[in-house]
């Protein structure tokens, strides 16, 4: 079936663009970058249809595995480069290559006037390669390879505008925070190798499923929790979510592809993949649910007061990822993956639409300086409306289906979680429509800002303008997907994979309540930002303390700074640098140098330059050798 072609095509694109891109025309770079991803997508389609996915029957009940070669063989441990495709992987492959292709096309338009054009597309293709390795890998180590690779690409692309300090800082932050999570993940992999003697998904999960649930020893919980720590890093959950909002420093297509649609869902994918382990560790599963819920809630509150359009969507991403983990934690793995898919559609669309808005505003990202854009960018307006209703959970659009599957499962698990989730859904609808109304309705607030004050614009005209077709066509496709994506019945498709009593079909009123919450959120946003714009300011004034907390994101960044970053920097500076490095290491090195120089200073007097003194030294030396031999008692 040649599964290896799927990741290798983007890798080839990366190689061509990365090595030769500097001398290639933009058209050629576009063709290589988007073409390789398109071919990869087509190859996914072809593979899936060969496996009978699009026909009837019950395809892919068993995973289809391809073994390429043995990578590591050490003792009992045998790790191969294996790719496997099962129902979960099929869903992820479709999301990654499909949405990825659309975003590549969009980026062609969005990046048209940016420097480092070939570098950008080379990184994007490299990202696609690692992401596909991540979802195709049939063992934990290959998953980890993809996991680290996407982290690297995320770092490279966040810091794409490397002349800007804040962009490189954000890249470093993402990389370092992810290292913390990866540390947990690698510990989990070690534990798995230790206890199961294998890293293959099939072997490990087969052994786990053979165990009775009650036998979930402490180490099973430990493995599950460590895996989840990895997921909190990659998927931006409390306490490691702080990098994702800053990651918006990267170009907008990157935010859409990596930090909304694909990479950040890697944690959800990994936990779902390891569902067998989590189901044997109920304590860990509860932690997943609670962390997910808390993240969903707090990130939503932080999204309420953001003024940067991308930051609003960034907190929204964190919040939606929290929903996914809530779904996983309450046992609805298929609902979690369902939400991954619908979220990929509507959140990619939100970001791409935001990019289109930013493009129209010539680089302005501040919602307070937008307004009234509906007339100027009609396509962006309509597509963003589709995305906003989808994320707000308005039936019958995609977000409604997946979010309600999760909330229903949460209700079965613990009603209080359901209520918090519903409240969060209301907030989600509110902040998304707040951004929407602020950008597209009301009086234009952008005359004040000089149109060419920001770097992005070199078109040389002031009024906002609609984006080129290469940008709005992907928007339109994603808009359609956001509207109808909910009818792709992912939970049914994934049913054979998660051997669970399928959750009772959601009690109708739970769906009604959450829809009502979403509608109330939209109505409130409309009231606050369309009808009487004085209200939010009044509220902000009368609740100034909570508002300040939310506006400053609960001071979490400051808290981490003072708790972790500053002690580390201070410790490095005053102890490691001034004491250990200057005193210890430099002392040893300089000492060695000084010793050699002093000895040399003495010995150099022998080099008098007079040949006869050299001759004398030779004679003296031979006499000493003879004397030494004599003292030692001859040569024998």
């Amino acid at each position: 079936m040649q599964l290896w072609l799927i990741p290798l095509l983007p890798l080839a694109g990366f190689a061509v663009n990365g090595l030769l891109g500097r001398r290639m025309s933009k058209t050629a770079i576009n063709a290589v970058a988007a073409g390789s991803v398109l071919l990869s997508f087509l190859w996914v389609l072809k593979t899936l249809s060969t496996l009978g996915v699009f026909g009837g029957g019950n395809p892919l009940e068993q995973a289809y595995t391809e073994h390429y070669y043995t990578w590591i063989q050490s003792g009992m441990l045998n790790i191969g480069v294996d790719f496997a495709i099962d129902r979960l992987t099929a869903v992820m492959l479709m999301i990654v290559t499909g949405v990825g292709f659309l975003i590549h096309v969009y980026a062609i338009g969005y990046m048209a006037h940016e420097g480092g054009y070939y570098r950008f597309f080379a990184y994007l293709n490299l990202f696609m390669f690692f992401m596909l390795v991540l979802v195709l890998g049939a063992n934990f180590l290959l998953l980890f390879v993809g996991w680290e690779g996407v982290g690297l690409c995320s770092y490279l692309l966040i810091g794409f505008y490397f002349t800007e300090k804040f962009a490189t800082d954000a890249g470093n932050k993402a990389f370092i925070v992810n290292r913390i999570g990866d540390f947990g993940f690698s510990l989990a992999v070690f534990l798995i190798a230790m206890h199961f003697g294998s890293l293959d998904f099939a072997t490990v999960f087969g052994k786990v499923q053979g165990m009775p649930v009650e036998s979930s020893a402490g180490w099973m919980t430990a493995i599950a929790l460590l895996l989840f720590i990895g997921a909190t890093g990659k998927s931006a959950q409390i306490p490691l979510y702080v990098w994702l909002p800053d990651a918006m420093a990267g170009p907008t297509p990157v935010s859409a592809l990596i930090h909304a649609a694909t990479m950040v869902t890697a944690g959800v994918y990994m936990v779902t993949r390891s569902s067998a382990i989590f189901l044997h560790a109920h304590g860990a599963l509860e932690v997943v649910a609670i962390i997910g819920l808390a993240t969903a809630f707090f990130a939503a509150t932080m999204g309420l007061a953001q003024t940067d359009i991308k930051k609003v969507y960034a907190y929204s991403t964190v919040s939606q990822l929290g929903y996914m983990f809530l779904g996983l934690g309450t046992g609805a793995f298929s609902a979690g993956i369902f939400h991954v898919m619908t979220h990929a559609f509507f959140k990619a669309l939100l970001f791409l639409g935001a990019g289109s808005v930013i493009h129209a505003m010539s680089g302005e990202q501040d919602l307070r300086k937008m307004g009234g854009l509906r007339k100027y960018t009609p396509i962006t307006f309509w597509t963003l409306l589709c995305a906003s209703v989808a994320i707000a959970g308005v039936p019958p659009f995609s977000g409604y289906h997946s979010k309600d599957a999760i909330l229903a499962s949460a209700y079965d698990y613990a009603p209080w979680m359901y209520w918090v989730g519903v409240f969060t859904a209301g907030m989600t609808a509110f902040y998304v429509f707040r951004a929407f109304f602020l950008a597209f309705f009301g009086e234009p607030r952008w005359q004040a800002a000089a149109p060419d004050a920001h770097g992005h614009d070199d078109h040389g005209h002031g009024a906002p303008h609609e984006s080129p077709p290469s940008m709005w066509i992907p928007l339109a496709v994603l808009a359609v997907l956001s509207l109808v994506g909910g009818y792709i019945n992912i939970p049914k498709w994934l049913e054979p994979m998660f051997k669970l009593p399928e959750e009772a079909p959601g009690i109708p009123w739970t769906a009604l309540v959450s829809v009502a919450a979403g509608l109330i959120g939209i109505a409130l946003a409309a009231w606050f930002y369309l009808i009487s714009p004085a209200i939010p300011e009044g509220l902000a004034r009368s609740f100034s303390t909570p508002y300040r907390w939310i506006y400053n994101k609960y001071f979490v960044d400051e808290f981490y700074d003072s708790l972790v970053v500053e002690p580390m920097v201070d410790g490095s500076r005053s102890l490691l640098w001034r004491v250990v490095d200057v005193g210890g290491i430099d002392g040893i090195v300089n000492g060695a140098g000084k010793t050699v120089r002093n000895v040399g200073g003495i010995l150099k007097r022998m080099q008098s330059g007079s040949i006869r003194s050299y001759a004398a030294w030779v004679v003296l030396g031979s006499i000493m050798v003879i004397v030494a031999i004599g003292i030692a008692g001859g040569l024998r």
Partner: protein
């Protein structure tokens, strides 16, 4: 190998070799003319040759002879190269005073 006169003991040959060698060293160290120094080196080589031959005779083994021949060959080659160097030095510096040939220092 014809027999040596029995009245001459082995130690005489070795003593002669030692005297020649020490003379060579002394000349090597204390003479200033390069040619003299060079001749002193030849003297030392021949002193060594003499002791080789002596031991070779005493031990009734041919190894010493072979070594002596080697030394002679090397000495001949060395004399050729050495004299050539000395000639060149004299051409360039108009002196054979060994203490003045220290331009490589500093």
């Amino acid at each position: 190998m014809p027999p040596l006169p029995p009245s001459v003991p082995l130690s005489w040959y070795l003593s002669l070799s030692l005297i020649l060698f020490v003379l060579g060293i002394a000349g090597f160290l204390f003479r200033r003319n390069i040619i003299t120094v060079f001749m002193s080196i030849e003297l030392m080589l021949n002193a060594v040759n003499l002791s080789f031959i002596t031991f070779s005779y005493k031990l009734k083994q041919v190894d010493g002879h072979i070594f002596a021949f080697f030394v002679m060959v090397v000495a001949a080659a060395e004399a050729a190269v050495g004299l050539a160097i000395i000639l060149t030095v004299f051409k360039n510096r108009q002196t054979l005073e060994i203490d003045e040939l220290s331009s490589l220092k500093n």
